[in-house]
């Protein structure tokens, strides 16, 4: 296991975190078998950690979303790679392999979504996510019409945009703190 630091900021002892955050982290650890480093790195500021995961869940666990779990991870992997965010590419690449049951897909999307084994509808979704990430100011009706021609509705488009925007925040925090992905993520689901 790597001895490299998880973050350039101090990482607190989980047992000394506020109770709700401690329970959140221990719950994740029980389920995953390890604590993803994003919890530990952001725990340097427990209030921001709490806000981060509440927002994460509001977007990623929204009940009415028609995007599949795999599609959400596709968006995250493609935009995080474009933002050069090692933590998110590696951790969400693992989740994408698991949810999609396509073990090659994460590496494909991280390198070049134009050459990935995805549908034209999914390619349109990722093209739009990359536009939200890089040039949101020029999004307009033509983008909405294009996505609708692929079967997305306005709520789906909000989902795509909100996931991209949230992980844009996450990518910047991970790069700011030099957040290190857990070694386990690299091989999960391959």
């Amino acid at each position: 296991m790597s001895e490299q630091p998880i973050s350039r900021y101090p990482v607190p002892d989980v047992m000394e975190l506020p109770e709700d955050m401690r329970d959140l982290i221990l719950g994740v650890q029980e389920k995953a078998g390890f604590i993803p480093n994003v919890f530990l790195a952001l725990a340097h500021r427990p209030d921001e950690l709490r806000a981060f995961f509440n927002y994460h869940d509001a977007i990623m666990l929204r009940e009415d979303s028609k995007l599949t779990k795999a599609e959400k991870e596709m968006i995250i992997v493609a935009t995080s790679s474009d933002n050069n965010c090692l933590y998110c590419v590696v951790a969400h690449g693992a989740l994408l392999r698991i949810y999609s049951k396509q073990p090659l897909l994460a590496d494909q999307l991280a390198t070049n979504h134009n050459k990935a084994d995805i549908t034209p509808r999914q390619k349109a979704m990722i093209d739009f996510a990359l536009k939200v990430s890089n040039d949101a100011g020029s999004i307009g009706d033509a983008d909405y019409e294009n996505l609708k021609s692929h079967g997305f509705d306005e709520e789906d488009i909000w989902d795509i945009g909100a996931i991209t925007a949230f992980f844009g925040l996450s990518n910047r925090m991970a790069n700011l703190t030099s957040m290190r992905p857990n070694d386990q993520f690299y091989t999960m689901g391959r």
Copy 2:
């Protein structure tokens, strides 16, 4: 008052929102004299509205932050302008004029922070915020050292980065939804 839509998505009736969000919005209205459109536009999804403002407050109201209210708004105006986000430039430009008591500052920062009436320390802060916004993947020790030479410590740098990251999310959501700034913001504090 403008008759243009506030958002390309439906805007709910405030009185039909979940109680905590309704109270939040009515409280803001009482204090400001009007409801900033960001509340109404994001209220299309109350869970995301709640998550957004909780995260906003965790960062912007953090007790130990050594950045002044005006400095936080400087970061927001400069990066939001770079992201072509009309809502945030206009709304936070108003806040910046009020907090800084420099009525010209918001327009200066929105156009070219190199020509704004700010200190070299503040210029270094904004240069870094723009790097977090545009090229976070290349942030490294040299950036930290430079900010420290201007008197910022590691916690200040987290603040600068977190504000930039959060408003990067906000900018993308505002552009996605074509969120319209309230007319009042344009003249506040001039």
Copy 3:
């Protein structure tokens, strides 16, 4: 009133300028109530000042132009903002508010013309101006055809291009000299 320098170059005494330039400036002062700083900054070299305003007038006051005064200022504000020129955004933003009688328009165009209260025809005009400003080498028949589909003719297109080109020069001189907008411009027409 600000005590900041108007220009990084020496600013001459108006009364010691060549007679025609002195009269020009005093005439503007009488009409506007103040001397816009562009006259004082460029007066460091009276021959260039004279050439600048003769060219300005040849383009901006051309009798047969079918562009409205407000449309010309729209072009200037949008392209000057894209060129990060504080002087031109602030001074011509004031003129745009006055000519258009739309007090919000200048700030909208300076931040994101895609979200401004303009017609599709005006948006096409500004898209073209931005292309002249940033990538004139790839202008071709398709651009002319597109503008014609919005009702512009070849002479209108020359006008759009010439205004953009002239203020591109102006933006560069203003940034070179750190030309400071008069404080009055910030609030005119709001």
Copy 4:
């Protein structure tokens, strides 16, 4: 001689131009042996033609300028190439060959000024001109200091900036009108 059009706009008969412009053009023709197409293309609007050459002369013929004729043309060729302006690269490339007596220099500067047979001082001059052309908003004291370390003073820097700004205008007008260089320019001075 090429039969291609000189401009996408109508080219007037020189003899029907206003007297001063007619005399200007006939004077140039007598001296050069041919009429450079920029005169004919811009003559579509005689007032703008007049303003263009008055401004040109104010900058390029300024008596006190310490830049050599060849250095001025170096700036023009390098920035015009960066702006993909065929007319200016070819016409001013000819002038540069003649003034510098270095027949290879224009092609070198048009392709890559880093590999051209110029002095470090001239390289600094061209680096600065390219910054004025592409990113004038970030010019600051450090740029002035660097040029001063190569022996330029503030007036030289205004010259470099003003030439760049003026030919930036010229490049955009030439690209807008598809101005065609005279065939003669391609071989002059080789």
Copy 5:
């Protein structure tokens, strides 16, 4: 095993290739256990296949090179990722894992070499390779001096540049032909 096409161009039967190319490919197959698709995709034009591997070997197997096998693959993975070349990132990522015995390194370099587990010397090497890839025209003495300060000599620098240049060719051919990496590469060396 994937049923996706290896290339958008026809792939010949290995047994019908010119003898030397057939032997080359069968030799690789015997050693690796499978035929890397680059051989099959380029075999559409046997003369170019032969030239490609001769050039490859001249650079990659140069006897006097002081770069390690792993360092050469670091250059390839980092620049191929920057060029969005799926084939080269996946295939050379496998080689890098094997040669470096650092199973995480390829994914790190493909996402963000600033966050990879490499030495400052190796970071300087990759920074230079990315400059050769993206902006070779501005390489100059300062780049050479910087690399020498990290212990590289002029021959090492030629090696870094030549590897980058050759794989820049390879990246473009792979993207042109939609060359598909063999599934085996994704998991080798993890």
Copy 6:
């Protein structure tokens, strides 16, 4: 004749090169009347020189290619100029003038292919070559369809791509080594 160095690396004595390379170079010298500097600069490493020209010939002398000699040189001049490669622009500009019998064409393509005297089919070819050079990862079916609408088939497209890819390598090696074009090339074919 210039006294400037041909390359920043040592240039060997032709008579001491391996026999095949010596004969290659002497053959070229006999035919051209001089030794193009690319042979001398790359001869610093004879194995790479050999590989370079074998690859060059495999692409440029391919018997079945339907591109004309002039069209191949158009691709090289336009992409080499975009890569700021002085050697290739000057040397292949000479070849283009000779093969095309259009003495102005090389300078036109080096500055702005949109303003060059070429056919729409040739413009499409160069647009595609520039995309291979700058953004090969996004090449897809739409690019192939567009070229087919201009009469190119899949083999022609491989030719265009392969020439671009090979000279992309060549451009990077020339810039790395500061390879200097022979003075003769500047005037050949004018």
